[in-house]
Amino acid sequence: MTHFFETYGLMLGKAILVHLAYVLTSVAAATVVALVLGVLLSRVPAIARWMMPVISISQTIPGIVFIGILYLYLGMEPITAFTALAIYAVFPILKNTYAGLLGVEEKYKEAARGCGMSPRQILFKIELPLAMPTIFAGIRMSTVYTVSWAVLTAMIGLGGLGEFVYRGVSTNNSTLTITGAIPAAIMAIALGALVDWIQKKITPRGLQEVKS
């Protein structure tokens, strides 16, 4: 065991950091893109009605196919992995942003208009805050998924915990596979919890479950 860590310890530490970096940057970028797209789509329901199904379908293209295609265009650079992961991470957040905004009850929007808010003020003061729980559910989903999708980056030689998994699988070394899989699982759980914690911090009491 000590021997194992002497050999792989440094590599594991680095793999965890790389993995984490992929996840955090791609989810962060995806959140920004998804929020902007979600808001835009919610303003034009006519377009959204056919866009959303298309987006849902493209989400089912297997990640490996997608990474492969990107690889052909962008080469073996971290940007390839980052782009692929970010694009995948957009879907759940976009879907939830759109659904969350659409789910804001008309009475709140009407009251806001009646108070003399501009469309922009209604979006930022009313619609987005009310959609926040749904949006966060999307971010959480994205984060957890991205941790596992990031395992694929190793397939094009871009590091992360996937390296252990693949080496383990290809050399039939289950210790190596597990060494990659367990930190990934822990990372998914921990990041999920982190998102929950942030959400709890920023959601006003009025939008949290009523305790009765």
Binding site: K107, Y108, E110, A111, A112, R113, G114, C115, G116, M117, S118, Q121, K125, I126, P129, L130, M132, P204, R205, G206, L207, V210
Partner: protein
């Protein structure tokens, strides 16, 4: 002053509002009433441009509302909706100050305004200001809804069936509160309802709409005395009777009947007679602006000394015995027997009438003791 001149609204081929003409004076409490779907909401929302009119013009103090920036217009017209629509992500304080903040009032002024407004409806600042809407009862929520509309001191307030979703008792007290606020603050209010009792209770002037047209604009008194046509007459008859029976026999406490037929001291004789006949009672309790007990007015009194349009305060009788909510029922029954009064008025500790005890209450109380709760 609010003026509608030949205002109309179409949806496709259908004309929803047809050449509406009317004027509402400053400080008037105007109630728009009429059957469901007759165009009341549409008429109301054209004023703050939540709905765009198709023809004619709507003047607010002589200015065509279509020439005012829609957002600025709405910031200067209070608006209360039936579904209340308090923003769930904001505290009571934040909800109340929505419009002042849009108008860039400074913090201190906003905070002071919230205190002032909460005091108006007897809600304690420290208890309620930091609460969220989901932590309030329906009645409290709509009080805040009304305060939000009042916050930036708009001269005009629009209310679209604001009490429609509330239970009868809460509705009753909110009606009283809003009416007395309107008098005190001298606001012009346009209030939509399809409950004739509510209209009679609140209105200085009632505008009766049917099928997109204005059939009659008159004081409650006059509308009751001289309905313009059969539609108005029938609607009033039906609704006065219905609304009241819904409020009858709400059991509260063990014996006291809680639905006191209260009228404010500004009421006039005909309105009272109408209310008595619709409730099948022969007297009404009269209260002052703070809801405190003044006396009663009876049908005999009105018959003997009243003239149409006379204020009820001239006919007040103060001979009915009163008791307090914490008086023992036994004592109350004793008083009923010894004074041979037909009923007693129950006051709370602030001298507000909150119930009556009749001889029927006595027999019901007896039945309750013999058969248990369901009999009451």
């Amino acid at each position: 002053m609010i003026e509608y001149r030949n205002v109309s609204k179409n949806y496709g081929e259908r004309q929803i509002v047809k050449n509406l003409n009317f004027t509402i004076e400053d400080g008037q409490f105007a109630v728009l009433i009429g059957p469901s779907g007759c165009g009341k909401t549409t008429t109301l929302k054209m004023l703050n441009r939540l709905i765009q009119s198709d023809g004619g013009e709507i003047l607010l103090d002589g200015k065509n509302v279509n020439e005012i920036n829609a957002e600025q217009l709405r910031q200067h017209i209070g608006y209360v909706i039936q579904q209340i629509g308090l923003f769930p992500n904001m505290t009571v304080e934040q909800n109340i100050t929505v419009v002042p903040r849009l108008l860039k009032w400074d913090k201190a002024r906003c905070a002071e305004r919230v205190r002032e407004l909460l005091a108006l409806v007897d809600m304690d600042y420290d208890t309620y200001a930091k609460k969220y809407p989901n932590e309030l009862s329906g009645g409290q929520q709509q009080r805040i809804g009304v305060l939000r509309a009042l916050a930036a001191e708009p001269p005009v307030i629009l209310m679209d069936e604001p009490f429609g979703a509330l239970d009868p008792i809460t509705r009753d007290s909110l009606q009283d509160e809003v009416k007395s606020l309107q008098k005190r603050l001298k606001k012009t209010i346009i209030f939509v309802t399809h409950d004739m009792n509510e209209a009679i209770k609140m209105a200085d002037v009632i505008l009766f709409m049917s099928d997109g047209e204005l059939l009659q604009q008159a004081s409650p008194e006059e509308m009751l005395r001289a309905p313009a046509n059969d539609i108005v007459r029938e609607f009033m008859g039906k609704h006065v009777a219905q609304g009241v029976s819904g409020q009858d026999n709400i059991p509260c406490g063990e014996i006291m009947r809680k639905n006191v037929a209260k009228v404010s001291s500004s009421w006039r004789t005909l309105e009272c007679v109408q209310m008595m006949s619709s409730r099948e009672i022969d007297s009404l309790v009269v209260v002052d602006e703070n809801d405190r007990y003044l006396g009663v007015v009876t049908i005999e009194g009105i018959k003997a000394h009243g003239k149409p349009g006379m204020e009820v305060t001239k006919l007040l009788e103060t001979t009915v015995p009163t008791v307090y909510t914490d008086t023992l029922a036994k004592e109350a029954f004793g008083t009923l027997d010894s004074t041979r009064a037909r009923y007693l008025i129950v006051l709370d500790k602030n001298e507000r009438p909150v119930g009556i005890i009749t001889r029927t209450s006595m027999s019901k109380a007896l039945a309750y003791m013999v058969w248990g709760g369901d009999a009451v």
